[in-house]
């Protein structure tokens, strides 16, 4: 085992050891933790994981002994919301993920290295690749090649997870042309908004971004989608690709600093969570810390801005609607009431509260692909809560949750009865955009 070579002091410095002392092990996080509830093991609870990180830092267990529970954490951070002593779980988790990534680097198989390189370093961060993927998906769907391929079972050679995700991926629309520079003059009442489009979002759900921009414009905002923006770095950050995540953060901070926006707005719960925590990517003494903090303060979820605007609802939507909040929107961005407020204000809607709606759906970035089986256990628990009162529409606020809910609906055989939409889509429909 390589841990024998790991210097204990060095490890203690890298893991958020001091932060583990804030945990008084009361266990109040247990009922809020989706993996604890679904797997039924203390090691897969926030309290259990914090204890393992502490013991690893003290050299009482090897870092390999904490690997499995850390890998299987969704990072939904629901535990932080219920913690009575404000333990910084996110910080502890990230430190453990980074340490594991570092010590695993050399053990990784060539295949895995290539895959990580392609996903984190090339695909997600490269606009052209994503555009190509987007177009590919678009034409793939449009030409019905997907059906042909599915019939030919070629897709079955892909891992089951990707195969399943492919089958529920919605029809892709190409993004519209967007305003990408500030107009010369600003009217006084107008909010100037920099739109953060995201990478996966702008590929699979580009139309949601387009609708969001239109709604902001109808509400009287000037919306600019600057070209210099890039991937937020959240997925890399959660996967222990720290350096890469930091570089992506710096690029975005620099890009948006050149403009004077009142807000930077996104419609992606997960990316938004990374953006509002960019300062956590840096050491407090780093000159980037304050810059990141200023940037983070400007970032808002679309629902926060829309809830302040006068939206022209012209169409009644007479449907039973449930809301599945994005964990990162709830627990990190702390945006809880706004989406519900707008949703309930849409004429005709009957709101059906989802039982235990704050439990993660198991999507969690790329968790549902890399830990597919576990993710399905969590998803099944979520869907079980829907069974007594099936809505006609499930509203989400994050592309990952959106895809996972589509998958859940399909697994339950409800695809003909239940529609999954982004909050922006249902608002746009009510405004007849």
């Amino acid at each position: 085992m390589c841990c024998a070579m790991i210097d204990e002091k060095e490890l203690r410095g890298k893991l958020a050891y001091d932060e583990t002392f804030s945990c008084v092990q009361c266990g109040y996080c247990l009922p809020a933790c989706p993996t604890y509830i679904s797997f039924g093991k203390e090691a897969h609870s926030p309290r259990g994981r914090i204890n393992l990180v502490k013991l690893a830092a003290e050299g009482k267990i090897s870092i390999h002994d904490m690997a499995n529970p850390i890998d299987l954490c969704l990072g939904c951070r629901a535990c932080e919301t219920v913690c009575p002593t404000n333990v910084e779980y996110g910080k502890i988790l990230t430190s453990a993920v980074n340490v594991l990534a570092e010590y695993r680097e050399k053990d990784r198989s060539r295949k895995e290295k290539v895959l990580r390189d392609v996903v984190f370093h090339r695909a997600l961060t490269n606009k052209n690749v994503l555009k190509l993927m987007g177009k590919g998906l678009y034409y793939f769907k449009k030409t019905k090649m997907d059906k042909v391929l599915r019939k030919s079972k070629i897709l079955n050679i892909m891992p089951q997870a990707i195969g399943r995700m492919e089958s529920i991926t919605p029809a892709v629309k190409l993004p519209l042309n967007r305003q990408n520079a500030l107009s010369a003059e600003k009217t006084r009442s107008q909010l100037r908004i920099g739109y953060f489009s995201g990478c996966v979002m702008d590929t699979i759900f580009a139309n949601v971004n387009d609708l969001a921009i239109k709604l902001l414009e109808i509400g009287g905002c000037e919306v600019v989608t600057i070209k210099e923006q890039g991937c937020c770095g959240a997925l890399q950050h959660h996967s222990g690709e720290r350096e890469l995540a930091v570089n992506l953060a710096k690029k975005n901070i620099e890009a948006f600093e050149k403009y004077e926006f009142d807000y930077i707005v996104n419609a992606i719960g997960g990316c938004g969570a990374a953006l509002v925590e960019y300062h956590h990517f840096f050491d407090e003494n780093d000159i980037w810390f304050e810059r990141a903090k200023r940037f983070s303060a400007l970032n808002k979820d679309i629902s926060v801005i829309l809830s302040k605007l006068d939206l022209p609802f012209t169409k009644s939507i007479n449907k039973n609607v449930s809301y599945q909040p994005s964990c990162h929107l709830t627990n990190v961005q702390k945006v809880i009431d706004e989406p519900l407020k707008i949703l309930k204000s849409i004429p005709g809607i009957t709101y059906i509260p989802m039982k235990q709606k704050d439990m993660c759906c198991g999507s969690a970035g790329i968790y549902n692909i890399v830990h597919h089986e576990e993710s399905m256990l969590i998803l099944d628990d979520k869907m079980a809560h829907l069974k007594n009162n099936i809505p006609e529409v499930i509203v989400t606020t994050n592309p990952g949750c959106h895809l996972q809910m589509l998958l859940g609906v399909e697994r339950e055989g409800l695809s003909d009865h239940v529609k999954v939409v982004h909050l922006v889509e249902i608002i746009a429909e009510a405004c007849e955009i």
Binding site: G27, E42, D65
Partner: protein, 472 residues
């Protein structure tokens, strides 16, 4: 170390018919090595039974190989009840939450040991009933753990504690026999009251596999008041005064000045920081009755020099008043991370004197001691805030806690009102019970568990055992 672990694991898996509920990985052994108190004790095996048969099989194996068996709910214990101090098998009951039946006409609930405590009350409410015990961890803790530790809670003042709601139990003995104690009736005097003996025995006599619980009609309404005091001693007098004016509040909770300041600094709720104590009083019953009673509560408090009484107009305002109490824990750990939560309890008349003793202890040992808790039943919660990485400070804390125990016992009180003895308080048992009293308890233990396989190392002090609050 027991040399038969591999054999036991193999036989357990066979008995359970499911290897996923028998755990031996390092990550699991360490994850059941702690609770909400102090110390890390690594067990050798974890198993997660979901049926009485499985418990019988595992006890038989433990008896055959003389290996310790330690029952555990969700590990919220503040006294070390579920710590496997002698290693062995930790029996995690948290998966066994399958039975929760309400029999509304008999006013009883029948539950399996892993049911989360608050879910019993949630279900009872559907039938217009209530399960009163409400430890603050009720939304996390299991009923099995509550039974083993005889848990209390704020409502203990009016409604009593867990033991007051247990009519019958199904248990597995140290020999692996299944017995039933008590029954489903309110009255039952057939033989010794084994039910009450087992409740609070902290897993040292047998393993509880099912409980029949008593429910009561749910009160129609509640009403809350916040009472401010310039002198903490007056708040003690107010408690007695209210109780002697013909009113039994559901809850009477206290916050001392140190906890008020901590909450204000933490959350700025607008609490007055120049008072010495706040009492939160909740009445429950018919709304007309509690409106009348609240007037009497105000009069009683004002007659013993309360500064003022704030009565919540509705449930929303009541919620805001209770927020102050709820924020004490998060607020005080902002000062320092380690929280030593004690529950020494004194007769109600001695509350003012206990406050004085606590003040002296705070000064003598220079520790950060705050007092809050269920003042109405004399069950104060002196909490000391420290940093467990500071050895010198922890030593002073240990001395201060010892003196808190001594103060409580010398005032005619007890070491523990509701947290249990577990590992932490066993060195003080003789101080409260006397040599002969403790010996009689030991005779019971020896008769029920002659091989000492059930939660060994608990309740009874080991020769030379000292009080420690450290993890190493």
């Amino acid at each position: 170390m027991n040399g038969h672990i591999e054999v036991i694991v193999e036989k357990l898996i066979e008995a359970f018919g499911d290897s996923s509920r028998v755990l031996t990985e390092v990550q699991d052994l360490y994850s059941y090595s702690f609770d909400a108190s102090f110390g890390i004790y690594k067990p050798e095996i974890i198993c997660q039974p979901i049926a009485t048969d499985e418990v019988v099989e595992l006890i038989k194996l433990a008896a055959q190989y003389k290996i310790p068996v330690v029952a555990r709910g969700t590990g919220t214990s503040l006294s070390g009840g579920p710590l496997p101090v002698k290693g062995g098998i930790v029996v995690d009951f948290s998966l066994w939450d399958t039975k929760l039946e309400i029999h509304p006409d008999d006013l009883i609930a029948v539950v399996s040991p892993g049911v989360i405590t608050s879910k019993i009350n949630d279900k009872a409410i559907e039938f217009g009933l209530m399960y009163p015990p409400d430890p603050s961890s009720a939304h996390v803790s299991t009923i099995g753990g509550n039974l083993a530790e005889n848990a209390g809670g704020p409502r203990g003042l009016k409604y009593g504690v867990t033991k007051d709601y247990v009519l019958g139990l199904e248990v597995v003995t140290a020999e692996g026999k299944v017995i039933r104690t008590g029954g489903r009736t309110m009255k039952n005097v057939t033989g010794y009251d084994l039910t009450k003996l087992i409740v609070g025995s902290e897993g040292t006599l047998c393993i509880i596999t099912e409980a029949t619980l008593r429910l009561v009609p749910r009160p129609l309404a509640t009403k809350t008041a916040m009472v401010l005091f310039d002198e903490i001693v007056d708040s003690g007098h107010a408690i007695s005064k209210v109780l002697r004016s013909g009113i039994m509040p559901a809850k009477m909770e206290i916050m001392d000045r140190h906890s008020i300041i901590a909450v204000e600094e933490y959350a700025s709720l607008g609490l007055p920081i120049d008072v010495e104590a706040i009492l939160l009083i909740e009445l429950d019953g018919h709304h007309q009755a509690i409106n009348e009673e609240m007037i009497r509560v105000e009069e009683a408090c004002m007659s013993v020099n309360a500064r003022s009484v704030i009565v919540a107009k509705d449930d929303r305002e009541a919620e805001q008043l209770w927020q102050a109490r709820r924020l004490v824990s998060p607020a005080i750990v902002k000062i320092k991370p380690t929280k030593i939560s004690e529950d020494a309890t004194v007769p109600r008349s001695k509350i003012p004197e206990m406050f004085q003793r606590l003040k002296e202890i705070r000064e003598k040992y220079n520790v950060h001691l705050v007092v809050f808790g269920h003042a109405g039943d004399g069950n104060l919660h002196p909490n000391i805030i420290a940093d467990q990485r500071d050895e010198e400070e922890m030593h002073r804390v240990e001395q201060a806690v010892e003196e808190i125990f001594e103060a409580a016992v010398s005032l005619g009180g007890t070491l523990s009102g509701e947290h249990g003895i577990g590992l932490m308080k066993s060195p003080f048992m003789e101080m409260e019970l006397g040599k002969d009293g403790l010996h009689m308890m030991k005779l019971i233990k020896d008769a029920w568990d002659p091989q000492n396989i059930l939660n060994p190392g608990k309740i009874f002090p080991e020769p030379g055992q000292r009080f420690v609050l450290r993890n190493d």
